[in-house]
């Protein structure tokens, strides 16, 4: 038995005491949904490589209400990831100097969200165009 008994502060619920860290834990937590969604796609890809019957079985599985509910939750979580990704971008990227002035935080966040919206619409249009 070790004679030294250093005090180790408990970490129980430390982040729940401060709204800043609650938000931080939620936006870090979106990674769980990104990982799960990548896992679902990877599973689908494996089924695709095993032929038509396997693919159709996987595609049918997606109609399960639990799967649909999960995807709705994932849509909210990853949508929140999009928002926070561009919200913290002014602090995660090097300062951009335009005309001798630092580009405003709002311009970086707003620009990023506008690009995300445009990219999403372009993706939807591309899928729609390819499918018909």
């Amino acid at each position: 038995m070790n004679k030294r008994r250093p005090y180790v502060r408990s970490m129980d619920g430390w982040w729940r005491k401060n709204p800043f860290f609650v938000e931080y834990m939620i936006h870090e937590g979106t990674a769980l949904f990104v990982a799960a969604y990548a896992g679902i796609l990877l599973n689908g890809l494996l089924h695709l490589s095993r032929g038509e019957a396997a693919w159709n079985a996987w595609l049918d599985g997606l109609k399960n209400p639990w799967y649909v509910a999960f995807h709705m939750l994932a849509l909210v979580a990853i949508g929140y990831h999009t928002y926070t990704w561009f919200k913290i971008m002014p602090r995660t990227m090097p300062p951009v100097i335009v005309g001798g002035k630092r580009l405003a935080d709002g311009a970086i966040t707003g620009g990023g969200l506008a690009v995300a919206a445009a990219a999403s619409l372009a993706l939807l249009a591309a899928v729609w165009g390819m499918a018909r």
């Binding site: 870090e28 769980l32 969604y37 990877l42 890809l45 799967y67 990853i78 990831h81 899928v127």
Partner: protein, 122 residues
């Protein structure tokens, strides 16, 4: 002979995290909507959007292959890095074992995706 300096491998993981974070921020919500909600519920998009013929053709196309690989692999590396660095926050020691599980999982998923895409053929 010059001594080889030990360099950090952090920038590699950071770059993969950033690339995956950007890709999932730009396209993640719409991808989830298309594959997980619109197609299973038959909303908005044509009924055969994700039919076997369509998806096989997409995954045999070089651009389609690259897109599928980038989405799966980068999403996994993004999530692995973020989860690894959040372990300390929830009171789990982020040591070598945790690193191996997080990044090893992403690496395994990347290899499986590459294998499946090669098995599908060109």
């Amino acid at each position: 002979m010059k001594a080889i300096r030990k360099r950090s491998n952090a920038p590699i993981f950071w770059a993969l995290f950033g690339a995956g974070g950007m890709l999932s921020a730009l396209l993640g919500p719409m991808l989830v909507f298309i594959t997980g909600i619109a197609v299973p519920l038959g909303l908005l998009l044509p009924a055969d959007t994700m039919s076997y013929a369509n998806m096989l053709a997409f995954s045999q196309n070089l651009i389609g292959k690259g897109f599928i690989f980038a989405v799966i692999a980068l999403f996994l590396w993004h999530a692995a890095h973020r989860i690894f660095h959040s372990l300390h926050d929830i009171g789990i020691h982020a040591g070598t074992a945790a690193k191996l599980i997080c990044y090893g999982g992403a690496m395994l998923g990347t290899l499986i995706a590459a294998y499946a895409l090669l098995a599908i053929g060109f």
